[in-house]
């Protein structure tokens, strides 16, 4: 009997658990270790953060799903991996420690939110809000509604939304939040009392950490930069890109831009996404020696079958530098999926300011990308157990992703930007059109249909990730 352990039950971990449980649950031991007892549908927290959706609507309990699939659930925090003994040490939620043995291990922990990386950032001990966890989104909602109440009394308020570190990622979530804030303020009749500023480390508007998107439109090529600039102009949102946040005080954000200029921006409410690092997880050998350097990149993310250390120009010309099977080379029994794997470098062009500050949007790994990687890893582990060899692989340079950025949740007059990109990481060898992407598949549009798509995707993903009938037929 083979033993598979999965650390984390987000998009990647939960997808892997379903595929593994479905194929192997009856005969083999599949164990999921997660510090929360519920699955959280992170993309809907933009709506929680403006009070348009209760956080309870974005979660469901994991254990009943696993019971159906013959998967064991350990509720606790994985703290250590004993690589020689092949065991994960878990601090159980109710107290005490347990170990989970494995023949194959999937690390799908998601990120550690590095609020400490920026002085004054974050809701706990800092001055900014976040929508990166359920409790943070609830806190953001309360702070946001306080601002609304003050605007209803006639006060003018300044909102700054974007990224809170020069190396942050996940600009898409912040974009969704600022456009939803705009729509909500319009709905509440106080939009004229608010100044909205987009503050981001992207090299251009609409970059989103994927080097932007270009699509064919009415016989010409339309870039995401033009698209988002038009949206912001229409919504009256000011923007400052090419800017890394250096620190926050109670009402001021200090920043540095690409040219090395430093400045400050005042705010009454800010929601800034932190840098993402790997979760703290120690890797030790049989003698108790720390072997983390074999497994983790300096940012704490898990090294996989990528080519690390290539200069950006070289990386952008080598599509096969991106990992295919997400397997750690030093310990082939360890895989990483979702945000937990270390990308070989940025997708967007990195920049260093004259002061030496690196401003580089890190590669985003959305729910769809994480789910696809979770599926690839699970199918390969099934292969290894059944046949002894892996037959699946999907690099981000071969991967299709659809991103639906909500810009108002209403099903009557809401909107969303629907962005489909193929491949996620440009492949300039396969698509030598200057974009590195298939312009017949890559697509971008905005409208009410997007709001319907966003709601439909939440419903279908929750259905899939609950393992309900037909889950296998719903694409990640």
């Amino acid at each position: 009997m083979a033993k598979v352990a999965i650390i984390g039950a987000g998009f990647a971990g939960q997808t892997a658990a379903l595929y593994l449980g479905d194929a192997l649950g009856a005969e083999h031991e599949i164990t999921v270790i997660n510090r929360l007892k519920d699955f959280s549908y992170v993309p809907s927290w933009v709506w929680v953060g403006i009070g348009r959706m209760p956080v309870e609507k974005t979660t469901f309990p994991l254990e009943p799903v696993y019971r159906k699939f013959g998967v064991r659930f350990v509720h606790g925090r994985a703290t250590q991996v004993r690589v020689d003994e092949r065991a994960v040490v878990v601090e159980r939620d109710g107290g005490g420690t347990t170990t989970v043995a494995y023949d194959h291990l999937i690390i799908a922990t998601g990120p550690r939110l590095d609020f400490e990386g920026t002085v004054g950032l974050g809701p706990e001990g800092g001055f900014s809000q976040s929508i990166c966890t359920g409790p943070h989104a609830v806190r953001t909602r309360d702070s946001y509604l306080e601002q609304v109440a003050r605007m209803e009394k006639g006060e003018r308020r300044r909102f700054v939304i974007g990224t809170g570190h020069p190396g942050a990622t996940c600009q898409g979530a912040a974009f969704e939040y600022i456009t939803n804030v705009h729509k909500d303020l319009v709905r509440r009749g106080v939009r004229d009392k608010a100044d909205l500023l987009w503050l981001s480390n992207e090299q251009a508007l609409g970059d989103f950490g994927v080097r932007g998107v270009s699509v064919r439109r009415k016989g010409s090529v339309l870039s995401s930069e033009e698209f988002i600039a038009a949206v912001f102009k229409d919504y009256g949102i000011a923007s400052r890109v090419k800017t890394g946040v250096l620190g926050l005080t109670e009402d001021t954000i200090a920043w540095e831009d690409f040219e090395g200029r430093r400045g400050e921006t005042g705010f009454d409410f800010s929601m800034l996404i932190p840098r993402f690092l790997g979760q703290p997880l120690a890797f030790v050998d049989k003698d108790g020696g720390d072997v983390s350097a074999d497994i983790l990149a300096p940012n704490g993310l898990v090294k996989v079958d990528a080519k690390y250390g290539l200069p950006y120009d070289e990386l952008s010309r080598q599509p096969d530098a991106w990992p295919s099977v997400y397997q750690n080379p030093a310990h082939p029994e360890i895989f990483a999926a979702g945000i937990a794997f270390a990308p070989p470098g940025p997708i967007s062009v990195p920049h260093t300011t004259p002061n030496g500050t690196a401003i580089a949007a890190a590669p985003p790994r959305t729910g769809m990308v994480s789910g696809i990687i979770g599926r690839v890893v699970a199918l390969n582990i099934i292969d290894l157990i059944k046949m002894g060899t892996m037959t699946h692989g999907e690099r981000m340079t071969e991967m299709y992703a659809a991103c639906i950025a909500s810009m108002g949740d209403s099903l009557w007059d809401g909107s969303a930007a629907v962005i489909m990109i193929y491949p996620v990481v440009p492949d300039i060898l396969k698509y030598p059109n200057g974009q590195g992407r298939d312009l017949f598949v890559t697509h971008m549009e905005m409208g009410l249909a997007g709001a319907w798509m966003k709601r439909m995707i939440q419903t279908t993903f929750m259905h899939k990730l609950r393992g309900r009938p037909g889950w296998q037929f719903i694409p990640e």
Binding site: F227, G393, E398, S415, M420, E445, G447, A449, W452, M453
Partner: protein, 38 residues
């Protein structure tokens, strides 16, 4: 690019948007198919 009143009309026209909803779903399925999905 500029969002015009005409764009706004079509972006919220329910019949046209239902058509786009169907098209977008088909495009996603086509994209998933184009992806390697090994």
């Amino acid at each position: 690019m500029q969002i015009t009143d005409r764009d706004r009309f079509w972006m919220n026209n329910k019949v046209f948007q239902f058509f786009r909803f169907v098209v977008l779903n088909l495009k996603i399925l086509k994209g998933v198919d184009a992806s390697k999905r090994a």
